[in-house]
């Protein structure tokens, strides 16, 4: 399988199964429309005839010969022989846990998938005993995995900061004894950040996600305080202070774009102008009946905007400056192995979420959906059949993914979004897919430009 596209003056060819990325010329691009595997040694006459009015015959044959060389080297039309690995990670230990420490929030964001913070379950905080039992559950299910991840999420996790702190200290106390290493992350809206919390987070958290949508007017339209007023002025000075003290450790500012800001490049640039250079802005995932929701009719505008964003990033790079947009990050040589790429996030299999009442769910997005409750850390129940269902949700069991060129980059998409908006964890949610594919094309183009420039 191949995928080819033209962007910003480059013809780019991806050989899906080898992962090979080739920058090709217009003739190669056209020729690839006229040949199909298996390739023969000589250029098919009908391909020569079709192109001879536009290109020199010697060039066509030379170009075909180069394509044939790639084919022989298994860098073009290479075989898809990964399905045999699809069941490799079925019995995987659990290595990551999302702790929903606060089903409560001090914001009332319009688009919140968590039902304005409480996941429809009533506003509750996780107590320390439950959090400790969740850590014990992770340790028990992690088998021989040494590196474990715990994400503090909500609602707003800093509304339950003492439990966050004590849970970290508890987990740290187990590390040496059990030969485990915890990596903690937290996602916060920043309203409650103060010196004590910043110190603790910077000391203990491997990654931090700071939620902000970009420009003040855009942020405040969706991210409202309980009294309906905007939140930007409350958190932005705290985010800046946090970032200044964070040093070289990882963090992102992360926001959501909606139908109201399809010019989201301006939001990314606004965050950059505020001093942030690690940025993730993502499409809102919501019922299309919501006024702010995205729909397929917006796709052309969204695609154009990602190209505009790529162009702005290109310009910043040209000035010798740096901005890292999360969804354009791509490592073409040292990225995850093909086996990791078959099922992506690993929710319900390597990754689970725990709610304040001790409920276990495949991930934070499934929290509160009774059908997907996997068990409880209070009574020790855990649905291993459901774990198997998630382990078996890979790109070869998802019919749309199996035939998609982007399958080794998005790895089958978000199972929760698939369930909520396409009816089944195995059904691809087309809106997300199309956006992901466009982001990948932009990412591949930016990467190709960078590598070509380095090799000149």
């Amino acid at each position: 399988m191949i995928h080819k596209f033209y962007q910003n003056g480059l013809y780019i060819l991806l050989d899906v199964n080898s992962g090979g990325v080739h920058v090709i010329d217009k003739l190669s691009y056209r020729l690839l429309d006229l040949v199909q595997p298996p390739l023969s040694e000589n250029c098919p006459q009908d391909a020569v005839d079709a192109l001879s009015g536009e290109f020199d015959i010697n060039d066509i044959e030379e170009c075909y010969h180069e394509l044939y060389q790639l084919y022989e080297q298994k860098l073009l039309f290479s075989e898809d022989d990964y399905e045999k690995f699809a069941l490799t990670a079925v019995a995987s230990p659990i290595k990551a846990l999302c702790l929903l420490v606060a089903l409560d929030c001090n914001l009332r964001c319009e688009y919140c998938f968590a039902g304005k913070g409480d996941y429809g379950k009533g506003r509750t905080l996780m107590d320390l005993d439950t959090a400790k039992r969740a850590i014990d559950f992770l340790v028990e299910k992690s088998a021989n995995r040494r590196m474990l991840e715990v994400d503090f999420f909500g609602g707003e996790p800093l509304m339950n900061f003492e439990v966050v702190k004590q849970t970290v200290l508890y987990a740290r106390s187990l590390e040496e004894k059990l030969d485990k290493k915890f990596r903690f992350t937290v996602t916060t809206n920043g309203l409650l950040l103060d010196d004590e919390k910043i110190d603790f987070i910077n000391k203990e958290m491997y990654n931090v996600v700071l939620s902000v949508d970009g420009r003040k007017c855009i942020n405040d339209r969706m991210r409202k305080r309980v009294d309906g007023s905007g939140s930007y002025d409350s958190f932005m000075p705290k985010f800046k202070k946090f970032a200044a003290l964070r040093g070289d450790k990882e963090y992102y500012v992360r926001g959501t774009y909606t139908k109201y800001n399809l010019d989201f490049t301006n939001d990314i640039m606004s965050l950059y102008d505020e001093g942030f250079d690690q940025i993730s802005i993502e499409p809102v995932i919501a019922d299309e009946k919501e006024p702010y929701a995205l729909s397929e009719s917006e796709l052309p505008e969204i695609f154009a905007e990602y190209e505009r964003l790529a162009d702005r990033l290109r310009g910043i790079r040209g000035q010798g400056k740096h901005i890292n947009f999360f969804h354009f990050m791509l490592d073409l040589d040292q990225g995850p192995c093909a086996i990791k790429r078959l099922r992506g996030c690993g929710c319900g299999n390597e990754y689970a979420a725990v709610t304040p009442d001790g409920g276990i769910y495949p991930c934070h997005q499934f929290a509160g959906i009774e059908e997907y409750k996997m068990g409880s850390i209070n009574d020790g129940t855990f649905n291993t059949e459901m774990k198997l269902d998630f382990a078996r949700a890979h790109v070869y069991s998802k019919p749309e993914c199996k035939k998609c060129w982007a399958k080794f980059y998005c790895s089958g998409g978000c199972n929760a979004n698939n369930y909520l908006y396409a009816g089944d964890i195995l059904n691809a949610y087309r809106l997300s897919c199309e956006i992901e594919k466009k982001r990948l094309e932009c990412a591949l183009t930016l990467k190709a430009e960078k590598l070509l420039a380095e090799n000149e």
């Binding site: 060819l13 080898s18 992962g19 090979g20 990325v21 080739h22 920058v23 090709i24 010329d25 003739l27 190669s28 030379e62 170009c63 180069e66 790639l70 690995f85 990670a89 290595k95 990551a96 995995r145 991840e149 994400d151 999420f153 992350t185 990654n207 996600v209 990882e250 992102y252 992360r254 993730s280 993502e282 995932i285 999360f326 969804h327 990050m329 791509l330 073409l332 990225g335 995850p336 192995c337 093909a338 086996i339 990791k340 790429r341 996030c345 690993g346 990754y351 991930c363 080794f408 980059y409 998005c410 790895s411 089958g412 978000c414 997300s432 982001r439 190709a448 590598l451 070509l452 090799n455």
Partner: protein
Amino acid sequence: MKHIKTINKANLKQSAEKGGCGKCQASCQSACKTSCTVANQKCERDS
């Protein structure tokens, strides 16, 4: 080559042969809480 420049190692197949150790980060745990991009994760295999 005159018409084609290959810009990466195209090592996906080799990665499968010695892959699957599971030491890498869960991909939804970083900045990406609502959509899943995996290809930007790091391989964390020891060797």
